[in-house]
C-alpha cells in the first residue's frame, strides 16, 4: 500500500513518530506506576509547548520571553469556557488555544517588526503586563486566589493520552513547518529579512502565521495543564520562569532543530523533578550553569552533540544541522 504523502515527508520519520506514539500509548497498560504515569503526562505537555515555542524562537529566530502570556490565557479561557459555558473539555482547550493565538497576534503583529534582542525585550514586557492584568482581572482568573476546574473521576489518568496526542500533533507540525517549502521561507526570514522580501517571502504574513500557531499551541498546552492540576492561579500560569523554561528547553535540546526542543523538554522536566526534590534552593542556579555550558560548548544543544557523535562514528555520512 502506498500512502499519498507530500514529497517532503520522509517515510522513516513518519514511521518513527507513529511507533514512538504507539509504544507510549500502550505503556500504561504494562506498568501501573502512577508517579511515572503522571510525570510522563507533564513531560508530553512540556514537549508540545517547547516545540511550539521553537517555531517562533528557533525557526524564525524570534526568541520570546513572554510565551507564558498565551499559556496562561489559554488555560484561564478554557477553564472559564468549561465552568461557565459548560463546554466539553477538548473543545474548551481548542477555544482557549484560538483565543491565545489571537492574543499573540494582537501584540505580535506590531512587535514582530522588531528583530533579535529588540523583539525579545518587547516580549518580556508583554509577558509581565499580561501577568499583572491577569492577576487583576479576577472575573477571568479568580485573581490571586486562582480558579478551580471541575474534577472528573479518572480524568488525571486519561489525560495521559490527551497529552500524548498533543505532543504528537506538535511534533508533526514541527516537522511540517520545517521541511515543507514554508520551512525554507522561514529560514530565509531568519537570516535576512530584506533578501527574503526581495524574492517575495512576506515576513509580516509568515511571522504572524507562525506566531499564531505557536501561541495557539501554547494556549492548548496551558489549558491541558489546567485540566491536569484542576487548579490554576495567575502567578504560576503567567510566571516569567515559565516563559524562561521554554527558552531553556529549546537551548538544551537544540534551538531551531525539529526534534531538539522535545529532547530538551524531557531533560528539563525530569531534571527539574529531581532537582526540586533534592536542591530546592539551588535548582534555578544549576539550570543557569547548564545553560551557560550548553551555549559555550554546543550551541545546537543535544542535537548538535548527537550529530557530532554520529559524524565521528560514520565520517562518510553527511548530516547537516538543518536536517534534524
Amino acid at each position: 500500500m502506498k500512502l499519498p504523502l507530500p514529497p517532503w515527508v520522509r517515510p522513516r520519520a513518519l514511521i518513527a513518530l507513529l511507533a514512538t506514539c504507539a509504544a507510549l500509548a500502550l505503556g500504561p497498560l504494562l506498568h501501573s506506576d502512577v508517579y511515572i504515569h503522571n510525570l510522563l503526562t507533564l513531560t508530553f505537555i512540556g514537549i508540545a509547548a517547547a516545540l511550539a515555542w521553537n517555531w517562533l524562537g528557533g525557526y524564525l529566530g524570534q526568541v520570546s520571553f513572554g510565551h507564558a502570556a498565551m499559556f496562561g490565557l489559554g488555560g484561564f479561557v478554557a477553564a472559564k469556557a468549561e465552568i461557565s459555558m459548560g463546554m466539553p473539555m477538548v473543545f474548551a482547550w481548542c477555544f482557549g488555544g484560538v483565543i491565545a493565538g489571537l492574543y499573540a497576534l494582537v501584540w505580535g503583529h506590531p512587535t514582530l517588526r522588531l528583530r533579535g534582542p529588540y523583539f525579545s525585550i518587547a516580549t518580556i514586557g508583554v509577558g509581565e503586563a499580561t501577568r499583572l492584568v491577569g492577576t487583576y482581572w479576577d472575573w477571568l482568573t479568580g485573581g490571586s486566589s486562582g480558579t478551580s476546574l471541575p474534577m472528573h473521576p479518572n480524568l488525571k489518568f486519561t489525560l495521559y493520552w490527551y497529552a500524548l496526542a498533543l505532543a504528537a500533533v506538535a511534533m508533526a507540525a514541527s516537522y511540517a513547518l520545517r521541511r515543507s517549502s514554508l520551512g525554507l521561507a522561514l529560514l530565509a526570514i531568519k537570516s535576512d529579512v530584506d533578501a527574503a522580501s526581495d524574492v517575495g517571502v512576506s515576513s509580516t504574513r509568515l511571522q504572524d502565521l507562525v506566531l499564531f500557531l505557536s501561541g495557539a499551541m501554547i494556549g492548548v498546552c496551558g489549558a491541558s495543564y489546567g485540566s491536569y492540576f484542576s487548579y490554576i492561579e495567575p502567578g504560576d500560569m503567567f510566571g516569567f520562569d515559565r516563559s524562561i523554561s521554554w527558552v531553556l528547553m529549546g537551548v538544551i535540546g537544540g534551538i531551531g532543530t525539529i526534534a531538539g526542543p522535545a529532547l530538551g523538554a524531557i531533560i528539563f522536566v525530569l531534571l527539574r523533578q529531581y532537582l526540586i526534590a533534592s536542591y530546592p534552593q539551588l535548582y534555578l542556579g544549576l539550570y543557569g550553569i547548564l545553560l551557560v555550558l550548553v551555549i559555550l560548548f554546543e550551541p545546537l544543544g543535544l542535537t548538535g552533540l548527537s550529530l557530532r557523535v554520529l559524524r565521528r562514528a560514520r565520517p562518510d555520512l553527511i548530516v547537516s544541522g538543518s536536517e534534524t
Partner: protein, 234 residues
C-alpha cells in the same frame, strides 16, 4: 516599463534622494552611475519597496507601487540582485535558488527554471549542495543572479554585480548580463565601473547627491567630456 517620478528618500534626517527621476523602457538595459553615496542603492530600495519614498512615486507598467508591499513586488516581475549578494549563507546553493522561485507566479515552473539557471551557470550545478557562504565571490554573484532569475522577472535590477570580484570574473559577469539582455530581459544596472557599464548599456543616468546630473544614450555619455574627466580618467 519602470518609471521613477521625482522621488525624495531619506534615512531618518539624512536625505539621500532629491527629486530623482528615471525611466526604463521595455527591452532596454539602462545603467545608473555615480560615485559612493550618490543614492544608487537607495534608488533600487525604493523600487523594490524596502524603502518608501517621502515624495514622488514609482510606477511599474503604469501602476503606482506605493501600495504594493515589498514582498508582493516579486510577483509583479521585479527581481533584485542585491549589492554584496545577500545570499542566505547557511542555506545550500540549491535552497537559495529554490527560494528565488518562492512567489506563486513562478513556483510551478521552479524545476525548469532551475535547469535554465544551471545551464547558464554550470558552476552552480557543481556546487548545488554546498552552503552558499562557502562559495567564492564570483560564484556567490552567479548564485544571486540565478536566484533572481528563478522568479522569472521581466525587470531585473542589478546592484553593482562587479563589486569585489576579480577582473576576469567581472568580465564574465558583464558577459552574462549581456546575454540576459539579448534574451529579451529588461535590465536596470547600477554600477561604479562606468566604462564597463556603458559598454553594454543602451542608456545611462549619472547621479550625484541624489539627483540626475546627466542622462543620455551610452554613446553620448561615453563621449561627454565631463564624464571622461571625472569618471573615466581620460
Amino acid at each position: 516599463m519602470l518609471e521613477v517620478r521625482a522621488i525624495d528618500a531619506a534615512y531618518g534626517d539624512v536625505q539621500v534622494l532629491a527629486g530623482l527621476s528615471l525611466e526604463v523602457r521595455e527591452k532596454e538595459i539602462v545603467t545608473l552611475l555615480g560615485s559612493n553615496g550618490a543614492g544608487k542603492t537607495t534608488t533600487l530600495r525604493c523600487v523594490t519597496g524596502l524603502l518608501a519614498p517621502r515624495k514622488g512615486e514609482v510606477l511599474f507598467r503604469g501602476q503606482p507601487l506605493s501600495k504594493v508591499a515589498a514582498s508582493d513586488r516579486a510577483g509583479l516581475g521585479i527581481a533584485l540582485v542585491p549589492e554584496a549578494r545577500e545570499l542566505w549563507p547557511q542555506l545550500t546553493v540549491r535552497e537559495n535558488l529554490e527560494l528565488g522561485a518562492y512567489d506563486k507566479r513562478a513556483r510551478g515552473r521552479a524545476a525548469q527554471n532551475l535547469d535554465r539557471v544551471q545551464v547558464m551557470f554550470p558552476r552552480l550545478l557543481e556546487r548545488r549542495s554546498q552552503v552558499a557562504g562557502s562559495l567564492s565571490g564570483g560564484e556567490q554573484q552567479m548564485c544571486a543572479i540565478g536566484r533572481a532569475l528563478m522568479s522569472e522577472p521581466s525587470l531585473l535590477l542589478l546592484d553593482e554585480p562587479s563589486l569585489g570580484l576579480a577582473p576576469i570574473v567581472v568580465e564574465q559577469m558583464f558577459e552574462a548580463i549581456r546575454a540576459l539582455h539579448a534574451s529579451g530581459m529588461t535590465i536596470l544596472l547600477v554600477e561604479q565601473n562606468l566604462a564597463a557599464a556603458l559598454e553594454i548599456a543602451t542608456r545611462g543616468y549619472v547621479i550625484e547627491t541624489g539627483q540626475v546630473k546627466l542622462s543620455g544614450t551610452a554613446a553620448e555619455l561615453r563621449s561627454d567630456p565631463k564624464i571622461r574627466a571625472a569618471y573615466l580618467g581620460l
